[in-house]
């Protein structure tokens, strides 16, 4: 469990994180969303004791990170996959961390296998690693102590589809076993598949802290896709009934009328319908809609 209480961070006159409070609970995957500069990374760094809050506090299992007795066996963190000494092999990077955490050396081979890094790759110096390989190494480091809490900043950035699926399954499985998983990502489609719960940040403030489905439902516009052979007549009927109709996806996208209403209107006018699909907004659309007022506010403040 991660608890953040009225966390604030100022750099000079700029307030990057502003009175933030939320709780990340065990047993589910919590996504951390926000545009660039919203304060996500600073928040994660304060949770991990790397940056000192101006005020407020962040606790892991009820204690500040700096007071954890076995930090690597309590929390696995991936902040910046590129933060590996280029002259050191992946194996030695992990072996050093295992030593620091009092973790048996055999875990190194286990996490390498778990993240799909072969022994030959692990023996190579990290200088030549692709971003995807670095992400796998960062993930291996986070999993090394088999921690109850995982904190991952953009873990799928640069991964191929296999890697993305691996991360998704791994995180879902750890949450299912009662782990606390907190991850940020810019890939909304991926977040929609992985997260159960969302914490959304804008300009350092909390915009939402709710289950994924609720965030989407509360902020979405329902759109219905309808396809019919007599397209033009159908459009007139729907427009007359108050629907906003636009062309898209090989049919009409109707806003303001739900799917049953569209079907009944078509039947009442004797129109054949080939497809009728209610389409909830994707997280990406919801997120874009949520972030817009914040971006406007920022532009206003700058001028």
């Amino acid at each position: 469990m991660i608890e953040v209480h009225r966390l604030t961070k100022r750099f000079g006159t700029a307030t990057v994180v502003d009175g933030l409070s939320f709780t990340v609970r065990p047993g589910r995957v919590t996504g951390f969303l926000g545009p660039n500069g919203a304060g996500k990374s600073t928040t994660l760094r304060m949770i991990l004791g790397l940056d000192r809050p101006t005020s407020g506090r962040a606790l892991i299992g009820g204690r500040p990170y700096r007071e954890l007795t076995a930090p690597l066996r309590t929390v696995g963190a991936l902040l910046d996959a590129r933060a590996v000494h280029g002259g050191r092999s992946a194996y030695h990077h992990l072996a050093g961390l295992a030593a620091a955490g009092g973790i048996p050396r055999r875990r190194v081979a286990e996490v390498l296998r778990l993240t799909g890094l072969g022994p030959q790759t692990a023996a190579r110096r990290a200088k030549g690693f692709s971003l995807g390989m670095s992400q796998r190494l960062g993930l291996a480091a986070a999993l090394l102590g088999d921690p109850e809490v995982l904190i991952l900043d953009e873990p799928v950035n640069g991964l191929d589809t296999d890697g993305i699926r691996l991360v998704r399954e791994l995180l879902r499985e750890r949450a299912a076993r009662g782990g606390t998983v907190f991850l940020s990502s810019h890939l909304m489609s991926e977040m929609e598949l992985t997260a159960d719960h969302l914490v959304v940040l804008g300009n350092g403030r909390l915009l939402a802290d709710a289950p994924l489905a609720e965030v989407i439902a509360r902020n979405s516009r329902t759109v219905t896709l309808v396809r019919a052979p007599e397209a033009e007549r159908l459009r007139e009927v729907l427009a007359a009934a108050g629907g906003r109709v636009s062309a898209g996806d090989g049919g009409w996208l109707v806003e303001g009328l739900d799917a049953p209403t569209v079907g009944e209107l078509a039947a009442a006018h004797g129109l054949t319908v080939h497809e009728l699909t209610p389409r909830p907004s994707s997280l990406e659309e919801v997120y874009t809609a949520m972030a817009q007022p914040v971006a406007g506010q920022r532009a206003g403040a700058a001028s």
């Binding site: 760094r45 991990l48 004791g49 790397l50 940056d51 000192r52 990170y65 700096r66 007071e67 954890l68 007795t69 930090p71 690597l72 929390v75 963190a77 902040l79 910046d80 590129r82 933060a83 590996v84 000494h85 280029g86 002259g87 050191r88 092999s89 030695h92 990077h93 072996a95 050093g96 961390l97 030593a99 620091a100 955490g101 009092g102 480091a141």
Partner: protein, 249 residues
């Protein structure tokens, strides 16, 4: 800090030290350099008549001392340069423990290497140099020389922690090694303190080299000079510990 956590942190530092070529090579060259140096000086007879065996044999201890300081810088600047400092501090969140582990590592590897290296160089010089040359006092001077290397390394570690950038830290410690004896004469009566304030000056006095006159390296004795250098290194380490604790990573 618990002994167990300190042990883990020290094991981490040792693994990091030995798994990167730059630190291992700098350290290895530092350790080896004085020995062939002694053989070269003896074979070419390139010594002042009044030079002692000890001073002649340890001629190349001066550049080796600079490499010790570089080793100390690399132990911390490698972390800031690559960004692993954040990883290290999440693995060992008590920052005083991290710095203490680095101090123990740097002091340990440099003391052992320097003691072996200076002793070998002296034995080589002793075997090859002419009988009629003044011997110098090898004991306890060789222990002092071996103690000076960790002091130089820790000075590098402290400056590297304070400045965080390899280039700036390397320039600063090399300046600390060379400048006091160059600038000393400008300070008039304070010269004995200024010129004696560099690790190099302490080294030349300990080795009883012919270069170790009051003009060049101040008129402090060898051991007070070592104590002076060790004293300000300790202060610099205290500053580094405070900075590391207070700063955001």
């Amino acid at each position: 800090m618990s002994a167990r956590v300190f042990g883990w942190a020290l094991a981490h530092e040792w693994l990091k030290f030995r798994s990167v070529r730059s630190t291992v090579w700098t350290w290895a060259v530092m350790a080896v350099l004085p020995v062939p140096g002694a053989a070269f000086v003896a074979a070419t007879g390139s010594l002042q008549p009044e030079d002692t065996v000890l001073g002649g044999a340890l001629t190349l201890a001066v550049p080796a001392l600079a490499l010790a300081a570089v080793t100390g810088v690399l132990v911390i600047s490698g972390e800031y340069g690559s960004g692993t400092i954040a990883t290290t501090l999440t693995a060992v969140p008590r920052r005083g423990t991290v710095l203490a582990a680095k101090v123990a590592l740097v002091a340990g590897v440099l003391f052992l290497a320097a003691l072996a290296s200076a002793t070998c160089a002296y034995l080589v010089g002793d075997a090859m140099l002419a009988e009629d040359r003044p011997q110098g006092e090898p004991w306890p001077a060789l222990l002092g020389v071996a103690a000076l290397f960790p002091v130089a390394g820790l000075l590098g570690l402290a400056v590297g922690t304070l400045l965080r950038h390899a280039a700036g830290a390397l320039t600063t410690v090399v300046a600390l090694l060379l400048l006091p004896s160059m600038l000393g004469p400008l300070f008039g009566p304070a010269e004995r303190w200024v010129a004696g304030a560099s690790p190099t000056a302490a080294l030349e006095k300990l080795t009883q080299s012919a270069d170790a006159d009051a003009q060049a390296v101040g008129s402090l004795g060898a051991w007070p000079s070592l104590a002076l250098v060790a004293g300000y290194t300790l202060l610099a380490l205290g500053g580094a510990a405070t900075a590391l604790r207070r700063r955001d990573v």
